[in-house]
Symmetry: C2
Subunit: 306 residues, 2 copies
């Protein structure tokens, strides 16, 4: 993980800005998967750290580091939102993918929970409805995109159509094969339209998944999260890992990179994703809009009103 | 929370329960406006406390009290959400109304921010679009209701159609007059369908509004929240207060009461609304669903899988 360096640095901006931006791409550089390469997931440690000096060392460190990010994250989100009210079309789309129990829901709770809910659009993707199945697989995604100034969060996404879709052969092979390219074209069009895509794969070990499923079974307050179907899916683990590797080979692009998040340790996962979002928001550098009214005149009118 | 006998036992209703529920209606009883009565808003103090012994005394107290509610609120929300996955149709709809700067946005940030974002559906209501104007005024509201298990939040609402709608005569008088009854019928149908309505009026003083508007003008990071139109609306303050009084007289019902929140002090507003939500969620008493699968069999299958 440490020597990952993948993907190459998002070219140098000019002047003093370049340095600030460089500092703000540490995790992006370390966690980003290479573009157009076949990787082997088994060679990535599910409980690794990124290896960067800023990495928290333990749960306490990690939680404190996340808490320290809450304020800057919320401030940047407010600026993004404010800019959105004045014509800035930019927004962020966080895509969360991973096996059952890998922590997609936990990320929403602990990381997305740091933001102002008014600007967050959380969209879980379950099995498509009969009506959705009648349309192109990207149609239901288009309807749930974040609006300008928002942080959109997909808990699962259009990638399910080349994951469970592939593993369970839910569509003809040629149809599945055609989807990778269509996803890339779709994501490129989003990027061109001001969407910053942050696609995170929560990389969990087979053994840790078992522990988490057993923990769900042991706790009546967690039974509702469990389904016997989870065991059937788990039986297909190698096929899913292979389907993910194919996704990373074909759909990690410069416009929409994939990030691999070691997910066996929840606090590390929360920290890494918070950092990733912080780095992206910082380099987007959203600005409060200038007033389109005369501030002094308004002040005078207000004071005259009594 | 510990003795909650989570998930399983749906028993132990009567007796001890009655007391707990009584304790949990303190703020509901103190802040609820009377049904079917004309009140005079000027007789309600905008910086009052409810007078209950549990009231926080100052900002520090208030913030700590809100922080202490975070956990029980999130726990109850999770139970509501879990129940929703198993057929429980109940949900909560928090309606926020109040003059500009009264703190609707601040409530979303500081109170709704305590909940898991996955179960929150924040819906701001701006001026209706041309398309929305072609339909009944309740149509756009119906589309934005919370789903089962969710906490819905309306930042402004259908009440705007009898507030600015009345003050600015945006529709014929008879149309406006007819809306109060239609709102009551609509809210009754929501209540019958499992929606717990918590309608909060953030009661701000004229003087405090001026201070807040001036503060927005003084801070470039807040200019985007300001519009010169706010000054025009402020000039109509007495007409708005009268329109609110009419709302409370006609639309405070047993099925959907109105709560008056003294809003000059932000920390008190946050505390009071958090308490109100806590009381409502506690008396809804949502339960984790029982598993519809054989826990022991699933455990055995998982362990056999290795």
């Amino acid at each position: 993980m440490a020597e990952q360096d993948s993907g190459g640095g998002h070219g140098a901006e000019a002047g003093t800005r370049a340095e600030a931006v460089a500092e703000d791409t540490v995790m992006r550089d370390l966690l980003r998967l290479p573009v157009g390469e076949r990787i082997s997931l088994s060679s990535y440690d599910t409980s690794a750290s990124s290896g960067d000096a800023t990495d928290p060392r333990n749960k306490t460190d990690g939680r404190e580091a996340v808490a320290r990010m809450a304020r800057p994250l919320a401030d940047l989100q407010e600026r993004l939102w404010a800019a959105g009210t004045a014509g800035d079309r930019r927004r962020v789309l966080l895509v969360l993918q991973g096996m059952d129990t890998s922590g997609k829901g936990g990320t929403v709770k602990h990381v997305v929970g740091l933001f102002n809910p008014v600007g967050c659009r959380v969209r879980p993707f379950g099995a498509p409805t009969r009506e959705e199945l009648e349309h192109d697989f990207l149609r239901r995604v288009e309807k749930r995109l974040p609006h300008h100034g928002e942080l959109g969060i997909f808990d699962r996404s259009h990638y399910e159509d080349v994951l469970i879709g592939r593993v369970r052969a839910l569509a003809p092979r040629e149809e599945i094969e055609s989807r990778y390219g269509r996803i890339n074209a779709f994501e490129q069009s989003l990027a061109d339209d001001g969407v910053t895509l942050v696609k995170c794969f929560l990389h969990l070990s087979y053994e840790e998944q078992r522990r988490r499923l057993l923990r769900r079974l042991a706790d009546p307050r967690k039974h509702w999260k469990f389904s016997p179907a989870d065991i059937d899916e788990r039986a297909l683990w190698p096929a899913y890992q292979e389907a993910y590797e194919t996704v990373f080979e074909r759909c990690a692009t410069d416009a929409a990179p994939w990030y691999l998040i070691p997910a066996d340790r929840k606090w590390y996962r929360n920290w890494a994703i918070s950092r990733l979002l912080l780095e992206h928001l910082k380099s987007m550098d959203p600005r409060y809009p200038r007033p389109d009214f005369d501030v002094e005149e308004c002040r005078a009118r207000l004071q005259a009103q009594g």
